[in-house]
């Protein structure tokens, strides 16, 4: 996999003494997209935090364009081109919407005009402080904010969580366009398995910190039995 944008090699990571991820390996090619599925608490968010450099890596390596970035601090990883949309959105409350977008922007394709085209609502709210937004608007802002850093890889942590159905549609359409039209490389962590699978090429399912299943998203979407067993409520006998 010489053309992998991001590779994880047998990664064990966690917080302090707690081990959350163990033996995680996968590659994401340029313009590829990976869905990370699994029930909550299995370590999906921790996986993204590990890619960003916020956890303690006890073993294994993270490679970016073939180079070892395991010890690189988070802000350097972001500057190298990894964009992160955190689960809790984490909008800066004392910054306006527009300041949230420009505070960490880096030159490139994505600029204010382009993200406002993608999320017209944000344009309407550009003068608002970050803490006066609805959940959906916060999610759009978090996504747009990451895009403004012009990343080569976008990490999305449960972007559809807790949103009204109509917003879920709007956002998942936007994410779909990002992947299909802009060729953005994506890692999408989701509990809404069926939406996530319909938006990505490949998928991994995590169970208690390890990869329990890998498949092409299309195949997994068709395989209801496996989905039920790994993510739904069916239980091993």
């Amino acid at each position: 996999m010489a053309d992998a944008l991001l590779s994880l090699k047998d990664v064990r990571a966690g917080y302090g003494a707690a081990v959350v991820l163990d033996g995680i390996s996968f590659d994401v090619p340029v313009r590829g997209s990976l869905a990370v599925l699994g029930r909550n608490g299995v370590g999906k968010s921790t996986l993204l935090l590990t890619i960003m450099g916020f956890t303690a890596i006890a073993r294994g390596a993270v490679l970016w364009r073939g180079e070892d970035i395991t010890r690189l601090p988070p802000n350097r990883r972001a500057q190298e081109g990894i964009g992160w949309v955190a689960q809790e959105r984490e909008i800066f409350p004392s910054l306006t919407v527009e300041e949230n977008l420009t505070v960490a922007s880096r030159p490139g394709d994505w600029n204010l005009k382009k993200v406002y085209d993608l999320f017209p609502r944000l344009h309407e709210r550009r003068g608002n402080k970050g803490n006066h937004l609805s959940g959906g608007e916060q999610q759009m802002l978090a996504t747009a904010r990451a895009l403004m850093t012009n990343p080569d890889l976008l990490l999305l942590d449960e972007p559809l969580e807790g949103l009204a159905p109509i917003i879920v549609e709007e956002l998942s359409a936007a994410i779909g366009r990002l992947a299909a039209e802009q060729g953005m490389t994506l890692i999408l962590v989701e509990q809404h398995a069926e939406i996530a699978l319909s938006l990505t090429d490949e998928a991994v399912v995590i169970e208690r910190g390890t990869i329990a299943h890998r498949a092409r998203s299309k195949d997994l979407l068709a395989d209801q039995a496996t989905l039920d067993r790994l993510i739904g409520l069916k239980v091993e006998a």
Partner: protein
């Protein structure tokens, strides 16, 4: 009756502006980094002695020494930030308190070694001396100058923090360090610059203070209490809060010493305790 009252008010405001310059840096760094820096006034002292040295040894005019007071204090503070402060950002308050008290102790002794324990008088240039009269009261020219400088700096600070990208970076880093790092912001660098800026302002304050309150090695502790009170009352990280609190405390200190000298500093301490118990985060806390 009204004459002395306005005079006291004017002196109080001027004194308050001095306290503002001395304390605003501590307010910002304490609010941002949660670092209890009791050596803040030691950096102010660096500024004061820079001005004294430049004037007495090199014959610089007073006004020209002010930028150097800012720069020297900022530079010295960066050295301390890099070596001693940074390892303790996550340490307990007690460790931070003790380390910075230690630094303040050392600064007192070092100042005494180089400059002796005597006051360091400086000669003001003619255009900053004397006073102007209006409405039947005389305003000291130097105090007017002090008020102008402090207000200009307050304005500059507010503009920088509220309307520049650097200011947005600072606010983002305070709001949410992890997210800021995750977006590629170098939070450590941002903090270091802010810290230097705050200490530089203290240095400037130290230089401007010589004419009003004098300068000797005990400065590092004498004004620490006032600075802490301003910060505690004004609220951490709030520039406007520091300005208002400093003005209030400047006026009440000058007025208290003029009208009820028998209470001394008692009133100021009482005000601080009451305010803290009423609003533990200060009157104008950001959060």
């Amino acid at each position: 009756m009204i004459g002395p009252f306005l005079g006291v008010l004017f002196d109080g405001i001027a004194y308050g502006m001095l306290l503002f310059l001395l304390s605003v840096g501590l307010s910002v760094t304490l609010g941002m980094m949660n670092f209890v820096n009791l050596a803040h006034c030691a950096f102010a002292m660096v500024g004061g002695y820079t001005t004294v040295t430049l004037m007495h040894v090199f014959g610089w005019p007073f006004v020209w020494t002010l930028p150097m007071a800012f720069l020297t204090a900022a530079a010295v503070s960066v050295i301390f930030e890099r070596t001693l402060y940074r390892p303790l950002y996550r340490a307990s308050e007690l460790d931070q308190v003790l380390l910075t008290i230690g630094i303040a102790f050392v600064s007192v002794a070092v100042a005494a070694w180089f400059f002796g324990t005597v006051q360091q008088p400086i000669q003001m240039p003619p255009y900053l001396r004397g006073s102007v009269s209006a409405f039947g009261i005389s305003f000291g020219v130097y105090r007017l100058f002090l008020i102008a400088v402090a207000l200009a700096i307050a304005l500059l600070l507010i503009v920088t923090l509220e309307f520049t990208r650097f200011g947005a970076t600072v606010r983002a880093s305070v709001d949410n360090q992890r997210m800021a790092r995750g977006l590629g912001i170098d939070v450590d660098r941002t903090f270091a610059i802010t810290f230097a800026l705050g200490s530089g302002l203290a240095g400037l304050g130290g230089a401007l203070a010589i004419e009003i309150v004098g300068l000797d090695p005990s400065f590092a502790f004498t004004y620490l209490v006032y600075v802490l009170i301003v910060v505690a009352v004004g609220g951490l990280g709030s520039i406007g809060g520091s300005l208002i609190a400093a003005t209030l405390i400047g006026i009440s200190d000058v007025a208290g010493k003029y009208y009820v000298p028998e209470t001394g500093a008692f009133l100021i301490y009482l005000v601080m305790i009451v305010v803290l118990m009423w609003r533990p985060a200060g009157l104008f806390a950001r959060r």
